[in-house]
């Protein structure tokens, strides 16, 4: 609150700039490498020692979580200041010091729903990247219908007793703690769910990585067998966990439709028309020789262009204060379709070069495209299936009702 008026902001900017100049190590000003991403927690190896230094310095400032209250170790900045910090970091191309489900999901929820003691206990270690969190939501029998979850939580007087299974727990095998939805009342559905947190080293917890059709993945199956959890690790009221869950799902969906998709295939992959030119060939006027494939690639490119323009429109309309709910609601569905179509076209254009798995004989970019194609099939499933998206559009946006 010390810096607020525009002139104060300038002062704040100078101080941030100076601090960054002094504290951001040189290698932290280079583009992020995949294997140097820091997720924090006990198992963090810090492949690049400067990333450890960078995390410690930023964590001490609370600037890994700039807007969180300073009393729990956060940066205590207001929105305007946080934006300045972001701008200044971007100016020197500083890497984010920490990737963390604690920062993105659990922390905000805990600040909103947790009690004082819980905030004091968990938030500081999230800010400093000392505890790595994972999310225990989906179950084998509860995918689209998340509220159908069955992991049993019994009140044993001095502790909770957990039995059940979660799936799609990202990085559960590397996390220190889990935030988790459990069933505390079987007689009702949404009102029988509670929100618990516990240590992944507790006896009876086992996480097994899931192999996907595209190969290894960050996802795990996580099993709970007679897991004892202290009573004070319930967040919010008993049987009121669904409210917290819904809030967290919002964070998740908005981050997915913003484009954080698995399966785009990554760098080094050319657009489909380039592979078509190389692999199918062109006629004397430079057109891809297969008119059928060419038309389908073009249709996809137009869809992708329309998608990009819609993101732009949405942003502009929001800035102008117009209603944008309508546009936002279709974007996850459209993004999944767009990415899946692209991946299919890549594989088709590559011909037999798109049919490799590993080893020699296939180019690296082609193999990436193939794996990316397989991974992309998850786009219309994860974070709400396309069918669920369409239901939501029909009901919330178009106002269509259910059977009466």
């Amino acid at each position: 609150m010390a810096f607020d008026a525009p002139e104060d902001l300038d002062e704040f900017r100078t101080s941030v700039r100076d601090w960054l100049e002094e504290n951001c190590p040189p290698s932290m000003r280079t583009p992020m490498k995949d294997d140097e991403i820091v997720w924090g927690g006990k198992r963090e190896k810090f492949k690049n020692p400067e990333s450890k230094l960078w995390l410690e310095r930023m964590g001490d400032q609370g600037w890994t979580a700039p807007e969180w209250p300073a009393e729990y170790g956060g940066g205590g900045l207001n929105k305007a200041q946080a934006r300045v910090l972001q701008q200044e970091m971007r100016r020197i191309r500083a890497r984010p010091p920490l990737f963390s489900f604690g920062l993105w999901m659990f922390g905000p929820a805990l600040l909103e729903f947790g009690n004082e003691e819980q905030k004091k206990r968990f938030i500081p270690d999230i800010v400093k990247g000392k505890t790595r969190w994972c999310q225990g939501y989906s179950e084998p029998g509860a995918g689209s219908d998340l509220a159908g979850l069955q992991t049993k939580c019994e009140d044993k007087g001095d502790h909770w007793l957990i039995n059940g299974q979660k799936v799609w727990t990202s990085y559960a095998d590397q996390a220190d703690w889990i935030f988790c939805l459990v069933r505390t009342d079987k007689t009702v559905k949404h009102e029988g769910i509670s929100f618990l947190v516990f240590d992944m080293e507790t006896e009876g917890v086992e996480a097994r990585p899931i192999k996907l059709i595209s190969g290894s993945s960050p996802f795990c199956e996580t099993f709970f067998t007679d897991v004892k959890v202290p009573k004070d690790q319930l967040v919010g009221q008993l049987n009121a966990g669904w409210t917290i869950a819904k809030r967290l799902l919002q964070f998740e969906r908005s981050s997915i439709s913003a484009g954080g998709f698995g399966g785009t295939g990554g760098s080094g992959i050319l657009p489909p028309q380039e592979y078509a030119k190389q692999h199918v060939g062109v006629d004397e006027t430079g057109r891809v020789a297969d008119g059928d494939l060419r038309a389908r690639i073009t249709d996809h490119l137009m869809y992708a262009k329309a998608f990009g323009l819609t993101v732009q429109r949405s942003t502009e309309e929001a800035k102008a204060g117009q209603e944008v709910g309508h546009t936002a609601s279709i974007m996850k569905y459209a993004a999944a379709k767009m990415n899946q179509d692209k991946c299919e076209l890549l594989v088709e254009a590559l011909g037999t070069d798109g049919l490799g798995w590993d080893g020699d004989g296939f180019a690296e970019d082609a193999k990436k495209a193939t794996r990316g194609w397989l991974r992309s099939k998850g786009n219309s499933i994860e974070g709400g299936t396309s069918e669920i998206n369409l239901n939501v559009v029909a009901k919330r946006v178009l106002g269509l009702r259910e059977h009466q």
């Binding site: 490119l301 329309a306 323009l309 429109r313 569905y333 178009l398």
Partner: protein
């Protein structure tokens, strides 16, 4: 690119929407049709002129309002909502653009005020076959002492049956398929040797086949440089394509709204048909296509006003996607309405009939996918 309307543009949009709703509803098209008017309505033309709609692209110095394509797009979208027949596309968009982009000062001074006031309607006549192919000009313009003599034929010229003046694309050099050698000629509708065959079209908007038999045109009726008409014609056609895409989008939105309303009122098996999941998903997909296409049209309209260098690409994007959109939505509109949608008394069929014309004119989805791919180098 700008996706948010300025205050002026928003006001014009509101006016155009209200005008279409109140003065040119679908029943008006039915009346014209049943009265054999073939889409021609002098009174309505006067009202459109009064509102200044003909002069939206015309600069103020030539008595227009010079508001630009974004503004024009709002009017086109509005008339698309009620599938109204007006001479705006040919006169106020394509015709005006040819003159603005290629006309001499004298031509501008003569024609643009008349366009802006609604005094003359223009029809730009390009295609000679049944599929849009603006380079395939075989109509010949032979140089002679006083000017040029035109011989050839044009097919399905929209507004050709009631245009006061034509802009004829003819060949002064080279052969069909080449851009160089195309020239543009202003030809009044009473020129000797010009015959106009009015057509009864499926959308009840009308059109005409033209034939030119030794039509004499003086030198000062050439628009743009001789042999280099393509440099004027192509950007003018792109404005037309974008405007037509906006119109088709308006039609798709209206047909979708009508369908959605029916889904919320029609019951079968004791349930609103809108509560059946398969129809819900189809409606949600149409809505997605509408939203994506809306962005393309807005981008193309503002691309023209901003004089961007990718207008051709944006025009093909808008026209291809709008064509696919109105194709899908008009078919689903009939299907969702069931038997009633098959009757002439219901509006579904009128939207579907107009849809196929909107799709075919100035290049369908296939044409523009091909062009987009070429522009993208494959």
């Amino acid at each position: 690119m700008s996706f948010v309307l300025s205050e002026d543009q928003q006001m014009l949009r509101d006016t155009a929407m209200a005008f279409a709703r109140d003065e040119m509803p679908v029943t008006h098209l039915r009346e014209l049709r049943d009265g054999g008017a073939n889409g021609v309505d002098a009174e309505m033309r006067g009202k459109l002129a009064e509102l200044g709609f003909f002069g939206v692209l015309v600069p103020e110095e030539h008595d227009g309002v010079g508001l630009g394509m974004v503004a024009m797009g709002q009017i086109m979208e509005a008339q698309g909502r009620t599938i109204a027949a007006t001479p705006l596309l040919q006169t106020a968009v394509i015709g005006a653009s040819v003159l603005i982009l290629g006309g001499s000062e004298a031509q501008k001074a003569e024609w643009l005020p008349k366009i802006a006031s609604g005094e003359v309607t223009v029809a730009v006549a390009v295609d000679e076959g049944t599929h849009h192919a603006p380079l395939n000009i075989a109509t010949e313009a032979e140089r002679n002492g006083q000017g040029y003599t035109l011989n050839g034929a044009k097919r399905y010229v929209t507004d050709g049956h009631h245009a006061d003046v034509f802009i004829i694309a003819a060949r002064t050099f080279g052969e069909a398929g080449q851009a160089h050698g195309i020239s543009l000629f202003l030809v009044p509708n009473d020129a000797t040797g010009l015959s106009v065959q009015a057509l009864n079209t499926v959308d009840s908007h009308g059109a005409a086949h033209l034939s030119l038999d030794d039509v004499a045109v003086s030198e000062d009726h050439v628009v743009g440089a001789v042999d280099a008409g393509w440099e004027v014609l192509e950007p003018a056609l792109d404005r037309g394509r974008i405007a037509l895409a906006a119109e088709a989008f308006g039609s798709a939105q209206a047909a979708f709204d009508m369908t959605l309303e029916y889904m919320q009122t029609r019951k079968q098996f004791g349930q609103l048909i809108g509560s059946f999941q398969s129809l819900q998903h189809r409606a949600a997909k149409m809505f997605t296509e509408l939203e994506l296409t809306r962005s393309c049209i807005a981008a193309a309209l503002s691309g023209v006003d901003e004089n961007r260098n990718d207008v051709a690409e944006l025009a093909s994007l808008a026209k291809a996607r709008a064509s696919d959109l109105i194709h899908l939505v008009s078919n689903e509109t009939v299907q969702f309405h069931g038997g009633i949608g098959m009757t002439d008394a219901h509006d579904s069929g009128l939207y579907m009939k107009r849809a196929r014309v909107q799709e075919a004119l100035l290049g369908g989805a296939s044409y523009h996918r091909d062009r987009y791919a070429k522009l993208n180098g494959f």
